[in-house]
């Protein structure tokens, strides 16, 4: 993925890249440094990558997201500690990272974001991750997640409804088997959604789940 393999920059440390990041202004430099931090593969670089979510350059944010995801579960703690409560744009990238990693520790944070974050991009991302994250939690949390996802299916934001379908598919597939029927029932109701995109996504979810059996 990276254009700058670690082997070519043996002397570069996280501290050096951090200093360069302070000075960088052009999107090209920011992108290069984000890729270098990811290629270095040191956990000390994760907080810097999370900061890059807030540089207000979507292309840089997307690259930083990719690099953070390479660290997998190691990134969960810094992501949760470093959520930007002021900049919803940056917050959406943090929530997307947590949603993709799918670690159970993100559960309470995602539930709170779905219930009370005002930014659609943050809520959509939190909803999308809830199925994957809840599947790693005990039954009571999975039941709560299921209930919340059912509510999301009638949200006024189509993006939340769309994200809920992906999450219900994840929960049906990876959650406790006794909840699968309820998750599938939610997907079934979305077939009747007034938005063609939503009913189509529900059909695709059903097909995905049918091939599992």
């Amino acid at each position: 993925m990276s254009s700058l393999p670690a082997a070519q920059v043996p002397s570069t440390t996280v501290a050096q890249l951090a200093a360069e990041l302070e000075q960088a202004t052009s999107p090209e430099d920011l992108l290069r440094l984000v890729r270098a931090l990811g290629a270095l593969g040191q956990v000390e670089g994760i907080p810097l990558l999370i900061r890059a979510f807030g540089f207000n350059r979507p292309a840089v944010g997307e690259a930083a997201l990719e690099e953070v995801l390479r660290f997998g579960e190691l990134a969960v703690k810094p992501l949760l500690e470093q959520v930007d409560s002021f900049d919803y744009g940056a917050r959406a990238y943090s929530v997307r990272a947590l949603a993709r990693i799918g670690h159970g520790d993100a559960y309470a944070f995602l539930v709170e974001a779905i219930r009370s974050d005002f930014a659609p991009s943050v809520r959509r991302a939190a909803v999308r991750g809830l199925g994957r994250v809840a599947a790693r939690r005990p039954l009571s949390d999975q039941e709560q997640a299921l209930q919340l996802l059912h509510q999301c299916l009638s949200d006024s934001d189509w993006g939340v409804r769309y994200a809920a379908l992906g999450a219900l598919t994840d929960l049906a597939r990876s959650g406790l088997p006794e909840l699968r029927a309820q998750a599938e029932a939610g997907i079934q109701t979305a077939l009747a959604d007034a938005e063609p995109l939503i009913s189509l996504r529900a059909q695709m979810s059903q097909q995905e789940l049918a091939t599992d059996l």
Binding site: G61, S85, S116, S121, L197
Partner: protein, 262 residues
Amino acid sequence: MNGSPTRIASNTAVLPQQLTWEQAVAKLQGADLQDRYYAAWYLGTVRDPRGVEPLLLALQDERDRTALGGYPLRRNAAKALGQIGDARALPGLVAALTCTDLHVREEAAYALAQLQDARAVDPLLALLRSPEEQPWEAIIEALGQLNARQAEEAIRPFLGHASRRVQSAAAWVLYRFTQAEELTQILTRLLADPNSSLRQAALFDLAESGWVAGAPLLATADVALNLRINALKRLFDVALQLGQLPLVQVAELIIPELDRLL
């Protein structure tokens, strides 16, 4: 771009003041210019067809004037009539295309596109051929939304217009009409422009074009996340409306991109 200091707060200052329809109409016909301007906007947001008659009167207002001779209330009234989308507004909006205020003509063109009534095509096409300065982007986009293929040759010269926003509008409309590949190149070049507002305009123009194969470019554009998501949704709806590709193919190209962003 920043959010609010606490995660749960939203900006209450932008919430609309709740009015009944009667109150809104009374304000629209009252003496206070600011109240009238607000009421016109409000009637558009609630999309109540009972607003059509009072808004058509506001579209001929003479009292609310700017120092440069503009008609702010007329601009808002035209916009609101578009949002309501009632065919009774057609003659009034066509007449507004000859208003001396360019912004009134601009709002009238967009409103006529929303009415989706083919009777608007000839007056819009006549305006496009006008020798005077016109709201070119609005006129071209309205002709595109009205699927006015007879406008193709009149629109083509605007691909070379001095304004890149106008070029972009002409490119998406002509792509919808012709599916000519070189038009997508104009749009993708603008999508990579250093100017962020131009990138944003190109993103939504690509969505309007209905060029489904461009979905990955929309998803990876250097534009805010929520806008990329909304543009992909718009591309899906446009493709569905145009019906040029089977639904399965549209889904195969757009759904994976949306899933990547959500």
